[in-house]
């Protein structure tokens, strides 16, 4: 294995920009790594070797010409979740219904990565339309966890997380609707950030649930995530819900945090996120992390968020409702799969959707259609929105007592493939600790907090809206006290 694939994005960028190595060499090393191990991992749905090398060559040319790099990450390779549109690659969102679709446009995130000179290696696997916690609901096969190929890498962004853990890419992009960045990060021992809602443009992000979806950075280190965060974040006039204010200075915060001093910071432990339902090994890892944070000078306080217990129920009303509407457009009339059965447009639509959507997507479309039906709206969607307000108030009260909140990122470590695929409720419980953040639109991330029975555990750090700087600072300080987690070598 080439050493280049073991480096952080920050180190790779330094070597590329000082011309110690070329961006093309770095890209090639990662493409070789993908060729060597992805047969066993299946992190990628599409590898764009030629485009990646061409993009890297442009970076090399510009550095050779003495031009300043387009960004601090120019020439660094990245794996892009297959839910962002790419004009030069297929975009499937993990669904049969979009098999072979080539979007005519780039997502804003894609465009910003290109403008920053980041080398896009390809598109990563995911649960269909980002619905799932294991990648088992991908129409294109499961991604395996590099820590144990019999286990899932988490989801929906399992492909991006596994690509990082298997050293196929130093950077990746995910999307987090209820934990789809943080839970895979926890399961693979990597770093995953769900930014404040509106912090990263959703233009070109194929919607799961519009009011919850948020793209964000994935990496193996906190600083790398911060570097990527600043490349993709910021206001986008094409997304009405995009926040019109500067990206928080997360790179500076991560560098500051690496000094390992958290004196004066208050860390709130959310009473409701832990205990029953959380694996003992996960809980133990979390308790150890708290002691570590105290050692760094933070004051640990307990806070209560009494409405979090209703979060999962509210989430599984709001999300399917929005899904049922967002996914109505997949009707065979304009793009994607078309099953020409039946004599009417309605019949073709029905046959296409029957053949093109997987079981979890259908389940949620049916749930959401029901929840929005006249006569049920107030009882379901309306009530869920009220819960959402109450959860936001819980957060506001908690952030009055603490600068950041912490919890285990997930109740368990990575579970075996096939374990929960037929038990939707057990699958949904994976997102217990991550969902409240999506409902409130605040920021959160998962950083590795060690192993339990040989499997990674994630520490979740939560911050108020636009409070990413303090979150990165705490994460970087905590990270500085630990050795990086390195997954065992994967066989192809």
């Amino acid at each position: 294995m080439s050493d280049l694939t073991r480096l952080t994005a920050a180190d790779l960028a330094a070597k590329i920009h000082s011309r110690e190595v070329s961006a093309v060499e770095v890209a090639q090393a990662h493409l070789d790594r993908i060729a060597a191990v992805d047969g066993g991992v299946h992190a990628f749905l599409h590898v764009a070797s030629d485009a990646a090398l061409a993009s890297a060559a442009l970076v090399d040319d510009s550095i050779a010409a003495g031009t300043a790099p387009a960004s601090p990450l120019a020439g660094v390779p990245l794996a892009l979740k297959d839910v962002f549109t790419t004009a030069d690659m297929p975009t499937t969102a993990g669904s049969r219904i979009l098999e072979g679709w080539r979007p005519p446009y780039d997502a804003t995130v894609t465009a910003r990565l290109r403008a920053a000179g980041v080398t896009i290696l390809g598109k990563t696997n995911m649960d269909e339309f980002a619905m799932g916690s294991s990648t088992e609901y991908s129409a294109y096969g499961v991604t395996r966890n590099p820590w144990d190929p019999s286990r899932v890498p988490g989801g929906s962004g399992g492909g991006s997380a596994a690509a990082l853990a298997a050293f196929e890419a130093p950077l990746a992009i995910g999307t987090d609707t209820g934990g789809s960045i943080r839970q895979p990060a926890a399961f693979t021992g990597t770093v995953g950030v769900k930014p404040t809602y509106g912090g990263v443009s959703r233009y070109g992000l194929i919607a799961c649930a519009s009011s919850l979806d948020q793209g964000g950075p994935c990496a193996r280190t906190v600083l790398d995530a911060a570097l990527l965060h600043e490349v993709i974040g910021g206001h986008d006039p094409l997304d009405s819900t995009s926040i019109d204010s500067p990206v928080p200075s997360v790179v500076a915060a991560a560098r500051q945090g690496a000094d390992g001093d958290l004196s004066g910071l208050r860390v709130g432990v959310v009473r409701e996120l832990g205990g029953e339902g959380y694996q003992p090994g996960v809980q133990a890892s979390f308790d150890a992390a708290l002691r570590q944070l105290e050692k760094l000078g933070a004051e640990v306080v307990e806070v209560s968020c009494p409405h979090f217990e209703y979060g999962l129920a509210a989430y599984y009303l709001i999300l399917p409702s929005e899904v049922s509407s967002n996914l109505a457009r997949f009707d065979a009339m304009r793009y994607g799969l078309r099953v020409d059965e039946g004599a009417s447009a309605e019949a073709v639509m029905a046959a296409t959707r029957e053949a093109g959507f997987g079981p979890e997507v259908k389940r949620r479309i049916i749930l959401g259609t029901y929840a929005l039906s006249s006569g049920y709206y107030d009882a379901y969607y309306g009530q869920a929105q009220k819960v959402r307000t109450l959860i936001s108030r819980d957060f506001a009260a908690a952030f009055a007592q603490a600068d950041v909140l912490v919890s285990p990122a997930t109740p368990t470590t990575a579970f075996p493939i096939g374990d929960k695929v037929d038990d939707p409720l057990a699958m949904y419980l994976n997102d217990l600790a991550t969902i409240p953040t999506n409902l409130a639109g605040t920021a959160a991330m998962s950083v590795p907090s060690g192993l339990s029975d040989g499997l990674p555990v994630g520490l979740q750090i939560m911050a108020p809206a636009l409070g990413e700087a303090v979150m990165y600072r705490v994460a970087a300080a905590y990270e500085s006290t630990r050795e990086p987690l390195v997954a065992p070598e994967v066989s192809a």
Binding site: T85, T241, M333, M349
Partner: protein, 498 residues
């Protein structure tokens, strides 16, 4: 079903109609409601589209500020309150010409509510129509069904879809139920749509062309037994695409409802389509279940919250509204109600005002447009404003008459020349040699000749009966082929008999 209709007079004898009108107006903004695509009418199919208005995966809407302003100005002109905060909603249903399979529309949070519009009926009576709401939404694409006999989707071999219109901003203006129209329900409906069209035209926010679909009307109608106050089941008639059709659709539905009710049957709450050729309505697709649009707030858009300053700024941009303008012109021109109504009905108001603006006295301008030009328009079977003559040209003719260079008869010939495409009035005068004869020498000879030919008349004039001069004037005019200045001729006659 019911075979024969009930006679209209019989209907109003026994039933009270309850009328409601929903009018869709396509705004003439440069770009669509939620994307930057152009909105021009008649472009090649699917050339005015982008990821957003095609509903491509990942695309997002951004509200067009100009459309919001237009909506607010319509609301203000309709005396509505402007909502200080409102969200868009999604109206979910599957249809191939709707790219996202939901329509983004203001559902229960319209931008304008609770207004009114005073409409003038044919006899001059003012009828106030209460406005429930005006809200913004996006238009759908268009389906073209190919094959089959009817152009309908059933029986078609295949269908073509054009998304150029998808996402064009629409304002839907909904009246409250209009009670008390009785036998005037068809007329009220037409007068309301006419008044609304004129109002929106004066705001400049839409072309309001019913023939091109930039203004579309749905008629809701129900009957209740006279004086019972019991609200009947209503039908909703779509595809009513001319002012005349509005009137005819109301009339037909009243007669149809009465026939159904008289037969002891129930009115089906349904969508019906107006048939232009037969002036009847036919039932739309029968729905097995009631439509459930599963409305919910559009999560891809932030709420619209117009500030009070913005609302007042827009109120300041409202032009003189049609009824205010009519009242002003009526006063300025000294018209009776009836005279004003005739001008409005003839579509002459704008033309006369423009002619006056070009320098003509109001009385002259009015008499030209309602008399000679109206006859010409009638003869050509066109509307007044379609005549190939401009108010400025009419004003020039009037000026030539006032200056004595033309008399009325010659002036009509000049107008004929302009209408025939012979150019500006002065060019027609030149080319046709229509100048009044003002050479006294030639005129004196003609006067003397006429006096000699009618000595008895000449004697009467000499005796002081000046009125008798008319016969001599007529003879002189005839002799000069009408090119003499009649006033000068009269002066010369008196002189020669003096």
């Amino acid at each position: 079903m019911t075979a024969s209709l009930v006679d209209f007079d019989d209907v109003v004898e026994r039933y009270d109609p309850m009328l409601g009108l929903e009018v869709h107006v396509e705004l003439n903004t440069n770009t669509k409601m939620f994307c930057g695509c152009p909105t021009g009418f008649g472009a090649e199919p699917n050339t005015q589209v982008c990821p957003t208005c095609l509903g491509l995966p990942g695309s997002l809407p951004v509200v067009n500020r100009a459309a919001v302003e237009s909506a607010m100005r319509i609301g203000l002109a309709l005396n509505c309150s402007i909502a200080p905060w409102g969200r868009f909603a999604r109206k979910n249903y599957f249809y191939p010409d709707m790219p996202k399979n939901f329509q983004t529309s203001q559902y229960d949070e319209p931008i304008a509510v609770d207004g009114w519009l005073d409409v003038t009926l044919d006899d001059g009576e003012i009828f106030r129509v209460e406005i429930e709401r005006a809200h913004m939404e996006e238009d759908t694409g268009k389906s073209l069904h190919v094959g089959g006999a009817t152009g309908r989707i059933h029986g078609a071999e295949y269908s073509l879809l054009d998304y150029n219109r998808a996402g064009v901003p629409l304002i839907e203006i909904v009246t409250k139920m209009i009670p008390g129209t009785r036998e005037r329900a068809p007329e009220v409906a037409r007068a309301y749509v006419t008044a609304l069209r004129d109002l929106i035209k004066s705001l400049g926010v839409s072309d309001v062309r019913m023939d091109q679909g930039s203004m579309r009307c749905d008629v809701n109608l129900s009957l209740s037994p006279r004086g019972s106050g019991i609200l009947g089941t209503r039908s909703e008639t779509k595809n009513v695409n001319s002012l005349r059709s509005v009137e005819r659709a109301v009339r037909y539905e009243m007669c149809r409802h009465a026939a159904v009710l008289d037969a002891g049957e129930k009115i089906v709450q349904e969508t019906r389509h107006f048939q232009e050729d037969t002036a009847t309505t036919r039932s739309g697709r029968v729905k097995e279940t009631s439509e459930d649009y599963r409305y919910f707030p559009e999560p891809d858009l932030v709420p619209i919250a117009p500030s009070a300053e913005w609302v007042e700024e827009l109120r300041g941009t409202l032009p003189e509204l049609p009824w205010a303008r009519r009242a002003r012109l009526q006063a300025e021109w000294g018209l009776s109600d009836e005279e004003l109504r005739d001008l409005v009905n003839a579509g002459a108001l704008d033309l006369i005002e423009a002619t006056v603006a070009a320098g003509a006295p109001a009385g002259e301008a009015r008499s030209w447009w309602v008399a000679y030009l109206a006859q010409q328009a009638n003869a050509r079977e066109v509307t007044l404003d379609a005549l190939p003559i401009t108010p400025a040209q009419v004003a020039r003719v009037i000026a030539l008459v006032a200056g004595g260079e033309l008399n009325n008869k010659l002036a009509r010939q000049v107008v004929d020349g302009v209408l025939a495409g012979e150019g500006e009035p002065d060019a027609v005068v030149e080319a046709r040699g229509l100048k009044v004869v003002s050479d006294d020498g030639a005129l004196i000879a003609a006067v003397d000749e006429a006096l000699a030919a009618q000595p008895d008349v000449a004697q009467k004039i000499r005796d002081g009966k000046v009125a008798a001069a008319g016969a001599i004037v007529g003879a002189v005019m005839k002799a000069t082929k009408g090119q003499a200045d009649a006033k000068r001729v009269r002066e010369l006659i008196i002189e020669r008999c003096g």
